[in-house]
């Protein structure tokens, strides 16, 4: 190849072609991360994992005759039927584990395999690499939870009443649930990516998130059963992530008035998260809690929300600094 031709291929004037670093660099990483996570196979497997228990649960016959009640009541009944499983499994154990295991490899795997070495030699700040991966993971989670929540709503409507009017009726409830899932993502994307940039082995970062979820949703629940007195006495709810997440979700549902406050669903939250007081007074004639169960209010929902957003922001900054200082070599 002649030198003149080579010059056109390789050399450039200082300003030609190459732009100053812009936010577009971050968007490129967002797109790459999203595409990497959202392969059709992976997405469908994740979706099935999130939906299966709910499909199994709603397979049981319902005693309510949806044709004979008003659309508002029918929508409320459907919401009540799915609210706890949405919280506990779909957006709880399965969703957080999926985000944890997907996000854990985003930085540590690139460092471990060696692709990060090429990435950090490119004219892009490490902070932007981190932010790009965070937003990519967040968008993947947001897409997954949106599809999961609205699929569940649709499946539940089909199963119980097969009336599209009822689906429109539960949309506000589904949106509030989706809003909660975004808060959840904000928290767990931060935890996962911070771990991913600190821990050397991708597997370890994923395992830590899974352990945290199991401890929060199952471990603390069992602890609450056996140490009911100590739970309050020793302020164990402070470290109970399950309680805080329940508190935030219930706070959202209450704030937006997305679901009637009845013991039918509140009992589940009382037993599993401690958000409601199991010993709430019951009307002796009707056998129900008029106006719903009494909240334990160990902390206000907005306090739980702010504390966990604070923790998320702290971890985000910590993860950023860790990646910035990290020595990258193969």
């Amino acid at each position: 190849m002649s030198i003149a031709k080579l010059k056109t291929v390789f050399s450039r004037k200082d300003t030609e072609g190459v732009e100053k670093e812009t936010h577009r660099n971050t968007l490129i990483l967002v797109k790459k991360t999203f595409q990497e996570l959202a392969s059709l196979k992976k997405f469908l497997v994740s979706l099935i994992i999130m939906l299966i228990p709910l499909i199994v649960t709603i397979a049981f016959p319902s005693t309510i005759e949806y044709e004979s009640i008003s659309p508002q009541h029918a929508a409320a009944a459907i919401s009540i039927a799915i609210v706890f499983i949405l919280f506990f499994w779909t957006l709880g154990i399965s969703f957080i584990c999926i985000i944890g295991t997907s996000g854990a490899s985003l930085i540590s795997e690139e460092v471990h395999s060696g692709t990060m070495l090429i990435l950090v030699s490119k004219p892009i700040m490490r902070v932007k690499i981190f932010i790009g991966k965070y937003i990519g993971l967040f968008l993947y989670g947001a897409t997954l939870s949106f599809v999961a929540i609205f699929s569940i709503g649709w499946i539940a409507v089909l199963r119980y009443s097969a009336n599209i009017i009822h689906f429109f009726g539960i949309i506000p409830f589904l949106f509030v649930t989706y809003l909660y899932s975004l808060v959840l993502l904000l928290i767990f994307c931060s935890i996962t990516l911070a771990l991913s940039s600190i821990v050397n082995r991708p597997r370890n970062a994923g395992l830590i998130v899974i352990f945290l979820v199991i401890f929060s949703f199952l471990g603390m629940m069992i602890l609450k059963m056996f140490l009911a007195d100590s739970y309050e006495t020793y302020y164990l709810y402070i470290i109970d992530l399950g309680y805080h997440l329940g508190n935030i979700y219930v706070g959202f549902l209450d704030f937006f008035n997305a679901i009637p406050p009845v013991a039918e669903w509140q009992t589940w939250f009382a037993q599993f998260t401690g958000v409601y007081d199991i010993a709430s007074p019951t009307d002796p004639d009707q056998g129900i809690n008029p106006g719903g169960m009494k909240r334990t209010d160990y902390v206000y929902p907005w306090v739980s929300l702010l504390v966990w957003i604070g923790i998320a922001v702290f971890l985000l900054i910590y993860g950023l600094i860790s990646l910035k200082k990290r020595e990258i070599s193969v």
Partner: protein, 326 residues
């Protein structure tokens, strides 16, 4: 108060491609500290510059510091007068690490476009450049295949193409021919030589013959310290020595006759091929008298010259001097 620039800071402002002042890398802390790079001063001028040293000498650590992957423990380094590791400096360089790893599921073209965009090119420009480079590196027909299916040589080509995609001013290549077969190696060397006509190249290797084929200037590093840095010509001149080699049909007889001459400092027979090695006191006199010596001994002259010295010989000599060779 006007800060007066130190002499070495002023020097950095000259257009060195790479400049470092007491660049140091220490791994670990206190008792377990290990000095991988020992306060080296690099002066890499435009052109193609070889970075030589045995495995573990500190080549990769130095290069990783220059591209910003590793933090500099002390000292400083600049790439074309931009502080090494900054975004501005990284915009000027294209880097191929040792044993590069790629996203195996991406096709070659997708990877190049992705790297181009990260390098600051827009989508159209990145696609155009990717295709140009695929043509240049003879991988155009394979550009739509996943990189995971590529051979070692093709992966190296994609790696160099990815380093070149944003049209850098300087290419930093860490052992670009490692793990390649001889044909792949020759191919990559040819490409690097060609590229170096328009882009400066700083290339590391522990294979001396490769560096000798490619480079005008060489820096040798051992145990984290620079042992020599100059043009290949000057280095050879410096190490060429003063030893003449003589070969005739009567080497032993001529050796005895030479031992008595006052212009000879030392002479001996080389074990490997039996040629006479001569270190003269007066080289001109030796050259003047040599025909006479041949005639006196009625011998046939096969050759009389200063033997060509290779980088390999210098490399070995340098490490012998430094007490590395046992």
């Amino acid at each position: 108060m006007i800060k007066r620039k130190k002499a070495y800071e002023k020097e950095a402002e000259f257009q060195y491609e790479i400049w470092s002042h007491e660049l140091q890398k220490i791994y670990g802390k206190k008792d377990k500290a290990f000095e991988a790079v020992k306060k080296i001063n690099l002066r890499i001028e435009p052109g193609i510059h070889g970075f030589l040293g045995p495995n573990g000498a500190g080549k990769t650590t130095t290069m990783n510091m220059l591209v910003g992957a590793l933090a500099i423990s002390s000292g400083e380094a600049k790439i074309r007068n931009e502080k090494a590791g900054t975004v501005e400096a990284r915009r000027l360089i294209g880097f191929l690490p040792q044993d590069p790893v790629f996203y195996d599921k991406m096709t070659g073209e997708e990877y190049l476009i992705y790297m181009g965009k990260l390098g600051g090119l827009n989508k159209m420009e990145a696609r155009k450049r990717a295709q140009e480079l695929c043509v240049y590196f003879d991988i155009f027909n394979d550009r739509t295949r996943p990189i995971g299916e590529y051979s070692g040589g093709m992966k190296q080509k994609i790696g160099i193409a990815a380093a070149l995609i944003h049209k850098p001013k300087l290419l930093i290549l860490d052992e670009p021919t490692a793990n390649l077969d001889p044909i792949g190696r020759a191919n990559i060397i040819d490409k690097i030589k060609e590229i170096s006509k328009t882009v400066s190249v700083f290339v590391s290797s522990h294979i001396l013959s490769e560096i000798e084929q490619m480079c005008d200037r060489v820096t040798m590093i051992n145990k984290g310290a620079i042992v020599i840095s100059d043009t290949l010509k000057n280095i050879k001149q410096q190490y060429i020595g003063n030893t003449y080699e003589l070969d005739t049909n009567k080497n032993e007889q001529i050796l005895k006759s030479l031992e008595r001459k006052d212009y000879i400092q030392n002479t001996w027979l080389k074990e490997e091929d039996g040629t006479i090695q001569i270190i003269p006191k007066d080289a001109d006199k030796l050259k003047q008298e040599m025909p006479k010596v041949i005639l006196e001994n009625n011998a046939i002259l096969y050759s009389f010259h200063i033997p060509e010295i290779s980088l390999q010989d210098i490399f070995m000599e340098v490490y012998v001097e430094k007490g590395d060779k046992k």
